[in-house]
């Protein structure tokens, strides 16, 4: 059944279809509509879940951790400052191997105070041990929300699904809402492998000494590796049921491309238009969309970009003192490609704090990348800035 809905409500519907059992959240723009809708679903009896009101995002994640430890399917949502406040507990969820699912609506961090989109909030949580999945449109948002629960519960790791502020969160699109039976067949009830039981009390998150800590981390890393494979499997399964494929990496008209744009989030849709334009003029320009940032799909990316001449990475984020974060990750992935097959890489910084990224912006990137002579002049090339 198709419905017209904003991206935030696509998350809410995904959570409802996934039959989340505990939801705890604290409101923050531009996320609030997600939990607002969920609270109404719970209050109205449409979603038989506990909705726990809390006084901060720190508490929201703490409540999710506690609930998840008892075996409940658990969800929260946040943005920007709220996600930053959760930081400590993101480690607790991941280290506790709890399959919490969270939606993060990408919003720039303050100061200057800003409610518009960029990716620094989620990327700043790169090393907390959360799986991160970036979405391009509202259909992908809904489908990814459901998949996130299956993936999280398969590998006992928390999943953060990420959507752009306003471009997705507050923009209406037609979304196909899958039937309950379809989702139930895809996503079985959670079977927790650890379960906090008050009848047999144990201390969770207790002291672990040097003789065991490292093995815990190794298990976590192995689970991350397994998550890549599991995601591929579940994405195929979902595609077989719905006809919609949302792979970890998607190549668009990139097979014979000489120049490949690498994007994530809603910039991807704009870039598709730009690629089509260059193709119409006979230019071999293609696109790779990165959906999965953690675990990073290093091998697949390497295979996709191997042999290309030029790669332009579009980063709506900045690691101050270094460069665009996707660009750095991709550079690192390409290091093992033999020099002859290794593309030159330009890293562009754009769209920070919600600044519009238009087809013209991306055209300019294609032109600059095509016409560059020699190595890139610097690792971070800022586009669309008033100097």
């Amino acid at each position: 059944m198709k419905k017209v809905m904003v991206g935030n409500h696509a998350v809410s519907w995904g959570v409802k279809l996934a039959r989340a059992e505990v939801i705890s959240a604290y409101p923050i723009t531009p996320q609030t509509q997600i939990v607002e809708e969920l609270s109404e679903m719970v209050a109205g009896g449409d979603l038989p879940a506990r909705f726990i009101k809390v006084e901060s995002e720190h508490s929201a994640m703490a409540a999710c951790i506690g609930a998840s430890a008892t075996g409940a399917r658990t969800f929260t949502a946040t943005s920007s400052q709220g996600l930053a406040l959760m930081h400590e507990l993101l480690h607790w969820a991941a280290g506790g191997r709890l399959p919490v699912v969270m939606a993060d609506v990408n919003r720039a961090l303050a100061p200057g105070w800003n409610i518009w989109t960029d990716q620094n909030d989620s990327l700043a949580q790169r090393d907390t041990g959360w799986i991160q999945l970036y979405c391009e449109n509202n259909q992908e948002v809904l489908d990814t929300t459901i998949l996130a629960f299956r993936l999280a519960e398969e590998v006992d790791l928390p999943v953060m699904l990420v959507l752009d502020a306003f471009y997705l969160s507050h923009t209406s699109e037609p979304v196909d809402v899958p039937d309950t039976e379809l989702v139930d067949a895809f996503l079985p009830p959670r079977v927790a492998r650890h379960r906090l039981d008050t009848a047999d009390p144990h201390s969770y998150g207790a002291l672990v000494k040097p003789d065991a800590y490292m093995e815990m981390r190794l298990h976590q890393q192995q689970a991350m590796s397994a998550a890549g494979e599991a995601h591929e499997r579940f994405a195929r399964d979902w595609s077989a049921r719905t006809g919609r494929a949302w792979p970890a990496l998607e190549a668009y008209r990139a097979d014979d491309a000489e120049l490949v744009l690498v994007t994530s989030g809603t910039i991807t849709s704009t870039a598709r238009e730009v690629v089509d334009g260059w193709r119409a003029r006979g230019e071999r320009v293609g696109l790779v969309k990165v959906k999965m940032f953690r675990p990073f799909p290093t091998a697949a990316l390497r295979a996709m970009l191997r042999g290309k001449r030029r790669v332009a990475v579009l980063d709506r984020n900045i690691s101050p003192g270094h460069g665009g974060i996707f660009a750095e990750e991709i550079r690192s992935a390409l290091y093992d490609v033999p020099l002859d097959d290794r593309p030159a890489l330009w890293g562009f910084i754009l769209g920070l704090g919600g600044r519009d990224v238009t087809p013209e912006t991306i055209d300019e990137i294609v032109v600059r990348t095509r016409e560059a002579e020699g190595a890139p002049e610097r690792e971070d090339i800022w586009v669309g800035v008033k100097v």
């Binding site: 506790g96 006992d156 650890h194 009390p201 144990h202 672990v208 815990m216 298990h219 976590q220 689970a223």
Partner: protein, 578 residues
């Protein structure tokens, strides 16, 4: 991976291996404190206690607990100005619990119960009670319950005192009053009417009794002290009310001026409205200073009574030998007087006149000391807290001995005198020595006395009680949702509101139970389990007795969450015992 168990930090033993109790320097104690309504009640009712029993569906016990401290709840539920509601902590959340309405519903339910056997006497002492108003009825029934043979001597043909003479039936229906008095008789109290002490019977006749409680009230309307006061058509407020309440109201004519701002003035004005007169209340201060119950002022205004504030009569104007109007002087408010209210002083404006066919004076009542065995001081019989007045074996209370002249204060005074008399006679009989600290009997140390504490048979199980009132700061509002106060069903002003028909129809029993659920049970553990739920060490468990909680000190690390989260201020942290 799906089948592998992830490595996580989980203890192999239970948490009991780590006695976190060794970390603490403070520990929680459960101590029942006192709800502000109980402390504010002039009768000394355990309001919080019966609200809690109602909440639990224990209606019979709730009624018993109420009657134990207030033998006249069907009456106070109707006419009390409910200071309990002013003190209610719920005022800071939304609106006060409608205590008066719940009390009325319970009082009416008590009247509907079949009467038990009259109490058998426990001792040979006899007590006389002079006056059957609320103070006398209260003292009498408490004394009967304490095992005394009690006889009330009443001057009027029917018992009830001011309840019958002064309060109109549209506020207190006579069948309610009659049934309440019948219930008191059923508790073993004898009432003899048409006996006025000092006239029909000499005071020294009472030597036959072991103790005497005198509560003959304040019945003499204070004169205006202006020319023309003796003219036909000028009525003393209480006298007018006595006849009106008896169904023989004086003929007032079309226009009536009522002088005064107290409850008598309001009752006169409303009764005069029921004679279809045009009624104007003349009060020398403003509405803020009026001593009448706020509800009564509102009701009077709703019924069409008009008010002229800052005006005082200076003369009753005569025409053909009777009243034809009032000459009045505009007043302004000056500096505060002894009562704390601003003193009215005449303005510079010229006097003006008001046309009136009748004038009712209701500027206060005085004690008629013509036949009293005591001397008055400052217009009242001087008594101590237990009603002792310096004359051996004599006790006094109610309107004649106090200046807070409300039904509730009278009932409270009757209870205190009953305790005073019991203490006196027990000492004389060589029984239990009287406590040297009356304050311990008071709710919160400053409220009225608790009969259960005096009798030491409080049916409410209290956890380590402390006599300390819990204010709003002691309440954790996060645990309470806002809920509107249930309103009494009041007959709207208009044609239906006439004669003796009761204006306020109160709440149904089920509504009263709903309203009781709004009670926060301030200061008193009601086994809500919040402390247990919030304890991060699972160190709190229900007490095996079924009431209260026990804390496992080996694991309580003294974090204080239980005390912080307790919705009602019944848990505190202490260093004691560590």
């Amino acid at each position: 991976m799906a089948d592998a168990i992830p490595a996580v930090a989980v203890s192999t033993t239970t948490t009991r291996v780590n006695p976190t109790g060794s970390w603490k320097y403070i520990r929680p104690v459960w101590r029942d404190r006192v709800a502000p309504c109980n402390a504010a009640c002039p009768v000394g009712v355990d309001i919080e206690g019966y609200m809690n029993l109602l909440r639990e569906g224990r209606d019979t016990e709730a009624i018993d607990l109420l009657l134990r401290e207030n033998p006249l709840p069907a009456i106070t539920g109707r006419v009390c100005d409910h200071p309990c509601e002013t003190a209610c902590n719920r005022c800071s959340l939304d609106e006060a619990v409608a205590v008066h309405a719940v009390e009325r519903a319970l009082g009416d339910a008590a009247l509907a119960r079949t009467q038990g056997e009259a109490r058998t006497r426990h001792n040979a002492d006899r007590v006389a009670v002079i006056g059957s108003g609320p103070a006398g009825l209260s003292a009498a029934v408490f004394l009967a319950r304490l095992g005394y043979a009690v006889t009330i001597l009443e001057a009027a043909p029917e018992p009830g005192g001011l309840l019958r003479l002064g309060i109109p039936p549209y506020r207190l229906p006579r069948d309610v009053l009659d049934r309440q008095i019948a219930q008191i008789r059923g508790e073993g109290v004898s009432i003899l009417c048409n006996v006025r002490m000092g006239r029909d019977l000499a005071w020294d006749t009472l030597d036959w009794f072991d103790a005497v409680f005198v509560a003959t009230g304040a019945h003499r309307s204070r004169p205006l002290g202006v020319p023309g006061e003796a003219l036909p058509g000028v009525h003393a407020g209480l006298e007018y009310l006595r006849r009106a309440n008896d169904g023989h109201a004086a003929d007032l004519g079309e226009r009536v001026v009522v002088v005064g701002g107290g409850n008598t003035a309001m009752d006169c004005a409303r009764s005069a409205r029921r004679q279809e007169a045009d009624v104007l209340v003349l009060y020398r201060r403003t509405r803020e200073e009026m001593p009448a119950i706020a509800d009564e002022i509102t009701e009077a205004a709703a019924e069409g009574v008009r008010f002229l504030f800052l005006a005082a009569p200076i003369k009753v104007i005569e025409q053909r030998g009777r009243v034809c109007g009032v000459a009045a002087q505009r007043m302004v408010l000056g500096h505060p007087d002894a009562s704390g209210r601003r003193r009215p002083v005449p303005s510079d404006e010229a006097p003006f006149s008001i046309t009136a066919d009748a004038v009712i004076t209701a500027i206060g009542e005085e004690v008629d000391d013509a036949h009293l065995p005591f001397a008055l001081e400052g217009g009242a019989v001087p008594v101590d807290v237990l009603g002792r007045c310096g004359t051996p074996h004599f006790f006094a209370g109610g309107d004649m001995a106090g200046h807070e002249r409300t039904v509730a204060h009278a009932i409270g005074a009757g209870k205190r005198a009953a305790i005073g008399i019991d203490q006196h006679l027990r000492a004389r009989r060589g029984e239990r020595p009287p406590p040297d600290d009356v304050a311990a009997l008071r709710w919160g140390g400053a409220g009225n006395l608790s009969m259960s504490r005096w009798r030491q048979d409080d049916p409410v199980p209290r956890i380590d009680p402390v006599n300390e009132v819990v204010g709003w700061a002691g309440i954790n509002a996060a645990h309470f949702a806002r809920a509107p106060r249930l309103l009494d069903w009041i007959v709207p002003p208009g044609r239906g509101r006439s004669g003796v028909r009761e204006v306020n129809r109160g709440l149904s029993r089920s509504e009263a139970t709903s309203e009781a659920r709004r009670c926060l049970n301030c200061g008193v553990c009601n086994d809500c389990h919040v402390c247990m739920i919030f304890c991060p060490d699972a160190a709190i468990t229900p007490d095996p007795s079924g009431h209260g909680f026990v804390v496992d000190l080996d694991y309580c690390k003294g974090c204080g969450l239980c005390a912080a989260e307790c919705p009602r201020g019944a848990v505190t942290m202490t260093r004691e015992g560590l």
